[in-house]
């Protein structure tokens, strides 16, 4: 695991800010440009530290897979935000040409092998990619991202059993935001109901299970990094439970065509009437928290932090403008046989 020097720390802060700003632009699109985004979007605001801390551990040739809540990973990996926004707007120059949309981003050129829109189903795929890394024998690892809800799926349990059995080089990163849409973890998870962390599930598969503050990018980096080092050495998988607080609702409202879409308030408020929980999460927002920490330890001058914020602001202005101006795909492109079959 590499030491995090000041340049790297500032890089991490910048990526966190880019993810945050991008997600806020997605959310604002529903108000500023009604009808431009269709279907369902899921935002990573609140999970930036977890995403960036995890991805900062990646070495050349490492790969990852994720879920439908997938905007943050390619942003941190360096995929052009113009192409990501254009994909979410269903445009021709989108990352996936408008074939996938918000839930199905993929950029294999940067090791991002893809996502599944179905809860838990990307976990065995990431596990298979880890078998591939083991076959290559070059010390590469796979990061498999999923949510707490997925840990109630058979796919999770089957995959962890196999990965441990075969000592596959994978780090399972469970981003635990404590809500399955609007159901709280303790309502649907036996460990949570008994006051235990969800990482105890790892014990059933004879692998280490660690819980980390997913709002602290350095803690995530160190935890995922140690797990990745272990995997690189052939010692097998680790389950990392990264505790995050999703700062937006699960997704935009679900409604038939013609009904304007928007983001409702967080389920803590809309379902449970617990505004204090949500406001406490806002007070602990990982992005300003990390900025303050870097400024305090002298890694980042406040003026430089403001400059970065301005650069990110301009980048996302450009992403939205590009996506709005980009044409829609030709309808006939839907029938491209070479996309149906390789």
């Amino acid at each position: 695991m590499q030491e995090l020097d000041n340049d790297r720390l500032v890089w991490m802060f910048t990526q966190m800010l880019r993810i945050r700003e991008f997600e806020e632009r997605v959310k604002r699109t529903f108000e500023d440009h009604p009808g431009v985004i269709r279907g369902h979007t899921h935002l990573a605001d609140g999970a930036e530290a977890s995403i960036v801390g995890s991805l900062a551990t990646m070495a050349p040739g490492d790969q990852l897979m994720a879920t439908y809540r997938c905007h943050g990973y390619p942003i941190a990996l360096g995929t052009d935000t113009k192409s990501i926004m254009a994909e979410i707007y269903g445009r021709k120059s989108g990352l996936c040409g408008g074939y996938g949309g918000s839930m199905h981003l993929v950029d294999p050129s940067r090791g991002f092998l893809g996502t599944s829109g179905i809860v838990g189903q990307g976990i065995p795929q990431a596990t298979g990619a880890a078998w591939g890394a083991q076959l290559r024998g070059q010390g590469q690892v796979v990061l498999g991202f999923f949510g707490d809800g997925a840990s109630k799926q058979g796919a999770f349990h089957e995959s962890l059993n196999l990965a441990s059995l075969w000592k596959l080089p994978i780090v399972y990163v469970m981003e635990n935001n404590n809500y399955n849409v609007s159901t709280r973890s303790e309502q649907e998870d036996a460990n949570a109901a008994n006051g235990e962390p969800l990482s105890v599930k790892a014990a059933a598969y004879s692998m280490p299970g660690v819980t980390v503050d997913g709002g602290d990018p350095i803690a995530v980096y160190e935890t995922v990094g140690a797990a990745a080092d272990r995997a690189r050495k052939g010692e097998g998988p680790t389950l990392v439970e990264s505790k995050v607080y999703r700062l937006s609702a699960h997704g935009n409202i679900i409604a038939p065509p013609g009904v304007p879409l928007h983001y409702p308030e967080h389920e803590a408020i809309t379902t449970f009437g617990n505004r204090e929980e949500y406001e406490a999460a806002l007070r602990g927002d990982p992005v300003p928290r990390f900025r303050a920490r870097l400024v305090e330890q002298g890694a980042l001058a406040p003026e430089r932090a403001d400059e970065i914020a301005q650069e990110v602001h301009e980048e996302m202005d450009a992403a939205v403008k590009f996506a709005l101006d980009d044409p829609y795909p030709e309808p006939e492109a839907a029938a491209r046989a070479d996309f149906v079959y390789a």
């Binding site: 074939y99 993929v106 179905i118 189903q121 298979g128 075969w166 070479d338 079959y341 390789a342």
Partner: protein, 326 residues
């Protein structure tokens, strides 16, 4: 050089030859080579040949991930119904990922399973369930009916850059036939004309190909010359060969071990009804399994299945319904 070997040995031979040819091919599944003495383990090592737990979602999902990472997995699933346990990976992941990525990724994976084991295995291990897979663009389906095709279609499935359901008819595993040695492929989407004839076209799949050929011999004794076509793959489907045969014969009987509704023969019937209607001198007829769960008891099991007599009878009926030529 061809020599006579059983269908099941031909399947295994294809996997072995392709593993020798391409180091990215891996083979695993339930009860695959649990012994280190297994010839495939001896030849290719435990890195590439593994026995897996009874975890279909993980097994098939891992094949998708291996394929995304540049490998060519062959997953042994034993019974086609076991794919139903992991249906999301088979139909909603593997065939969709390329399209949803805008052509950025490919998923070259083979899902190998047996089907149609109507030999007293009752309702949950006997099904000819491939009809449902035809509704998922991106997913190819191979149904070998001869030992040579069993080898050649498996080799093609492994080399194909798309997910393939490679389905072994368990009633055929001990059938012997000439199989070429060494590398041998059979192209997807090219039907085989198993018997030429000018009076009626019979399209049959898998185990029913042999039943249709037997019926054709009986009919030949009555002066009826049937052409028997085996599509070999249902996706891609060689409709051109079927349509040109119907153009010649004017009559079509479709035979399939699967159910009638939502089945393979219904899809073929629709294609011919739309694109070959003017060639038809009589309505298309289907000889499928009945729309019931396959029963255990032998007389009932036989009752629901297509057989030689039902095929011959349907051909006579179709020809009898035809208007008398001037």
């Amino acid at each position: 050089m061809a020599r006579e070997i059983p269908y099941i040995a031909a399947v295994q031979e294809a996997i072995r030859v392709e593993m020798e040819r391409d180091p990215s091919v891996v083979f695993y599944g339930q009860d695959v080579a649990p012994s280190d003495e297994d010839p495939l383990v001896q030849a290719f090592g435990r890195e590439r040949v593994r026995v897996s737990p009874i975890s279909e979602t993980a097994e098939i999902g891992m094949a998708v991930g291996l394929a995304l990472a540049g490998y060519r997995p062959v997953v042994e699933l034993l019974m086609a119904e076991f794919m139903l346990v992991a249906m999301n990976q088979v139909v909603n992941e593997a065939p969709r990922l390329r399209y949803m990525s805008g052509g950025q990724v490919k998923v070259p994976a083979v899902f190998k399973a047996g089907y149609g084991f109507t030999a007293g295995w009752a309702g949950q291990h006997t099904g000819s369930i491939y009809g449902m897979f035809m509704g998922f663009p991106g997913l190819k389906i191979a149904l070998p009916s001869t030992p040579a095709d069993a080898k050649g279609l498996m080799a093609t499935a492994i080399r194909d850059d798309n997910p393939v359901c490679y389905l072994i008819n368990y009633l055929l595993v001990l059938e012997h036939g000439d199989v070429p040695e060494g590398e041998y492929t059979v192209p997807f989407g090219e039907a085989a004309v198993r018997r030429s004839g000018s009076d009626v076209t019979i399209v049959a799949t898998g185990w029913t190909v042999g039943r249709a050929l037997a019926a054709a011999e009986t009919l030949a004794g009555e002066g009826i010359e049937a052409e028997v076509i085996d599509p070999r793959t249902l996706n891609p489907l060689d409709t051109a060969t079927i349509l040109s045969s119907v153009e010649k014969t004017g009559h079509l009987v479709l035979v399939d071990q699967g159910t009638r509704h939502g089945g393979a023969s219904a899809v073929i019937a629709a294609e011919v009804a739309e694109h070959g209607f003017t060639s038809l001198k009589a309505p298309i007829a289907q000889v499928t399994a009945l729309d019931v769960t396959v029963p255990y008891s032998e007389p009932m099991e036989a009752f629901v299945l297509p057989n030689e007599e039902k095929i011959a009878g349907k051909v006579r009926q179709v020809l009898g319904e035809a208007p008398v030529a001037a």
